[in-house]
């Protein structure tokens, strides 16, 4: 069990206001600076990239949840309807804190180890064959190791730089996947078995611990041992029109008349008892398109382009039957 006495006291994540349009952060796609085994990378080796501000308006509760996770050094587990901004939170946190974002998009075939590193044994086998004929001399196992997103974040922390790690849709993976990650998420350390290299976030430096954000769509139940280590937050669909309006505004939809009508329509639609309720991302797409098309605000009630909002045939039939302009 990890000691949890050390708290991260760096600047918290706050409700964004007066943020710059862009920020310069470390380029996660440029991994050469993480290749060398030395722990003191000089700054000039790090390549920077410009990222744009994430239009994201978190609630105060969500901000508190992020900060609690950050201070205690625990992963933040986000649940909620699809399209309510679970994934985008990671981008927002990364932008606000000016940290590089390591993204792990989980697939059904992803193994826990892939998040840390991938060892290309097959390539080494080929090279070993060729080495016999003298074409290739160096078959050092280190050459065949590619660090995964979480592995890079841990190694970066070892080198003294922090990152945000997004583990997206963890329930898509195999049932044992979360359990295989327990130790790594708890202590932020791992060993590459093939080379014996060991990476670890320095114990006395909680301010270097990667901020881990995990999203979960409730398709599979997560093991309790895993849940125990997470901070759990359920992202609700914002109830008040004002907040949704702000979110739309942040996404560049300035036509207040249109967005008010559209929000009212969406709220009514969500009360119809649809199987898949339209969420924020659908709303943003929909209003964005209506805005671009200069669609008259008064006719939004008639649900133009409802294909953006309703994604299932029974839902569509229900709307066609029950919707009153």
């Amino acid at each position: 069990m990890i000691t949890r006495l050390q708290f991260d006291r760096t600047a918290p994540y706050l409700l964004g206001s007066n943020l710059p349009e862009t920020k310069e952060v470390e380029d996660t796609s440029y991994i050469d600076c993480l290749r060398s085994n030395s722990t003191d990378d000089s700054q000039d080796e790090i390549k920077k990239v410009i990222i744009e501000r994430e239009p994201y308006i978190p609630s105060q509760k969500l901000v508190d949840a992020v900060n609690l996770a950050k201070v205690l050094g625990r992963p933040l587990l986000l649940q909620g309807e699809p399209g309510c901004g679970k994934t985008r939170l990671a981008y927002s946190v990364a932008f606000f804190l000016g940290l590089p974002l390591e993204k792990c998009y989980i697939k059904s075939t992803t193994r826990a180890q892939d998040l840390l590193y991938v060892y290309d044994a097959v390539k080494r086998l080929y090279d070993a064959q060729l080495a016999k004929s003298g074409d290739i001399r160096d078959i050092d196992p280190q050459k065949y190791i590619e660090l995964g997103p979480l592995g890079r974040a841990i190694k970066r922390a070892q080198a003294g730089r922090r990152s945000v790690v997004l583990i997206d849709e963890i329930d898509k993976a195999d049932l044992d996947f979360p359990n295989d990650l327990l130790q790594e998420l708890d202590c932020f350390e791992f060993t590459i078995n093939e080379t014996g290299e060991h990476y670890k976030v320095p114990e006395k430096k909680p301010e270097l611990r990667p901020i881990v954000i995990i999203t979960h769509n409730e398709e599979k139940a997560l093991p309790t041992a895993f849940l125990r280590r997470c901070i759990y937050y359920y992202l609700e669909f914002p109830e008040d029109t004002q907040t949704i309006q702000e979110i739309l505004y942040a996404h560049g939809i300035g036509n207040e008349m249109l967005s008010t009508k559209a929000i009212n329509t969406l709220q009514r639609l969500r009360l119809l008892g649809l199987d898949k309720k339209p969420g924020l991302s659908e709303l943003i797409d929909w209003v964005g398109y209506l805005d671009v098309q200069r669609y008259p605000a008064d006719s939004v009630n008639g649900l133009p382009f409802k294909e953006v909002l309703i994604k299932q045939r029974p839902d569509l039939q229900k709307v066609e039957r029950d919707w009153k302009v």
Partner: protein
């Protein structure tokens, strides 16, 4: 180790104990987490903020959150007067500013003004107009508990146990995309050709068992609705089956089995169905319901057509044991259905929510204690188990064909 030697506010302990009592699995480390969060300035602004922090740390689902809300409402009416102990200012390094100040700096909120302060400030004399309504009734003297009751469902089998048992029901077959390397085939290939070529890949093993759940609803099954729903939801979210379909029925899944066979039955009050079994005509007429509120229909024949030999069928019904009566038509319909089912799959079990003594047929008991009701007759022809831990386990074993029930033979 987390630091346990600090001053621990009593209300947190009380809350912690109550939550443990109501089934939230919390350990000493979870407690230490909350302590740490409080020390870092989280959850100090108000009772609501404390609730939010408890949920963030301890709730792992929306149901958990609701449970914590209930416990909060009953045990912690208002945030007690509690300040951070002076000596707890430091955690990782020395010479840091006072932690409470730190908290203010961090969260932008001052520490809560305590309840006492509020009381002291509020010394105005309030005059109320005389009301014509009756005064409110005070329950203080009546000895009625003020706290609300928190009612928690306690089912005979926990989620974890259900999960464990049903996970055993699997029949892995390699199927789908080839993604797993086949080491021995690759080595063989290299040895045979002498050239390093592509790795031979195999499809992954997937569970090909399909599950068909047929659930009796309403009537004598009403008391078991919640438990059965709970069971079904756990199986459907956690079981790794290729496909799960759930249908509902009332009393029997089919209606209108050929009744002429009953004329051949011996003229006794409780005729034995054993000799008649061969004569019963399989029947798949009638309807099953897709929704538990009986709102959508599907013909039984159509539901059965989805079954093949990889389908495990689970019937959950009390089979008439609750009323302890002997209903000839119900037995006939059920047996006719089971015969129709056998034409598709042989893997079928019956889970009876009533304990075994309500329906198990014991040979040799004296007439008075021996059960002979509808369920007893049915249980002779289908593997029937009671819906509790042991029974479910044996049912799963039966579906895996690791356990065979001798007397349950249907021709």
């Amino acid at each position: 180790m987390p630091d346990f030697d600090r001053e621990i506010p009593a209300f947190v302990i009380k809350l912690f104990r109550q939550l443990r009592r109501y089934g939230i699995t919390l350990g000493i480390y979870d407690y230490a987490e909350l302590r740490a969060a409080l020390c870092q300035g989280f959850g100090l602004e108000s009772r609501e903020a404390l609730f939010e922090v408890c949920c963030l740390l301890w709730a792992k689902s929306l149901q958990d959150k609701q449970r914590i809300r209930d416990v909060f409402d009953t045990t912690l009416a208002e945030l007690p007067d509690w300040r951070l102990p002076q000596h707890s200012a430091d955690d990782n390094s020395e010479g840091e500013p006072h932690e409470a100040d730190d908290a203010i700096r961090r969260t932008g909120h001052p520490l809560p003004s305590t309840a006492k302060d509020d009381e002291r400030g509020d010394t105005r004399i309030v005059t109320r107009p005389v009301s014509r309504e009756l005064p409110p009734i005070e329950f203080d003297d009546c000895g009625i508990r003020k706290e609300k009751f928190i009612l928690e469902p306690v089912f005979p089998v926990s989620h974890r146990e259900i999960l464990h048992m049903w996970r055993n029901l699997r029949q892995p077959v390699r199927d789908g995309l080839s993604i797993e390397p086949d080491i021995s085939a690759t080595i063989n290939k290299i040895c045979r050709t002498g050239v390093v070529s592509e790795v031979v890949l195999l499809p992954r093993r997937n569970n090909i068992v399909k599950l068909l759940m047929l659930i009796d609803r309403r009537g004598s099954m009403s008391p078991f609705h919640r438990f059965v729903d709970d069971l079904c939801s756990v199986i459907s979210t956690a079981g790794r089956f290729e496909n799960i379909s759930t249908y509902y029925f009332q009393n029997t899944p089919v209606e209108g089995a050929d009744r002429t066979v009953l004329s051949k039955a011996p003229n006794t009050p409780y005729p034995d169905f054993g000799p008649l079994l061969k004569e019963i005509v399989p029947c798949n007429e009638g309807y099953l319901y897709i929704k538990s509120d009986f709102s959508e229909l599907i013909p039984t024949s159509k539901a059965l057509a989805q079954c093949d030999d990889k389908t495990a069928v689970v019937i959950i019904s009390e089979a008439g044991a609750a009323r302890n009566s002997y209903n000839l038509y119900r037995i006939l319909d059920t047996l006719a259905f089971l015969k129709a089912l056998r034409q598709h799959t042989h893997r079928c079990v019956w889970l009876n929510p009533l304990p075994e003594e309500y329906w198990r047929y014991y040979e040799g008991y004296d007439f008075l204690t021996r059960k002979n009701n509808t369920a007893t007759q049915i249980s002779r022809f289908v593997p029937m188990f009671s819906l509790e831990k042991n029974g479910i386990q044996r049912a799963v074993e039966t579906l895996r064909r690791h356990y065979w029930v001798n007397e349950s033979v249907i021709i």
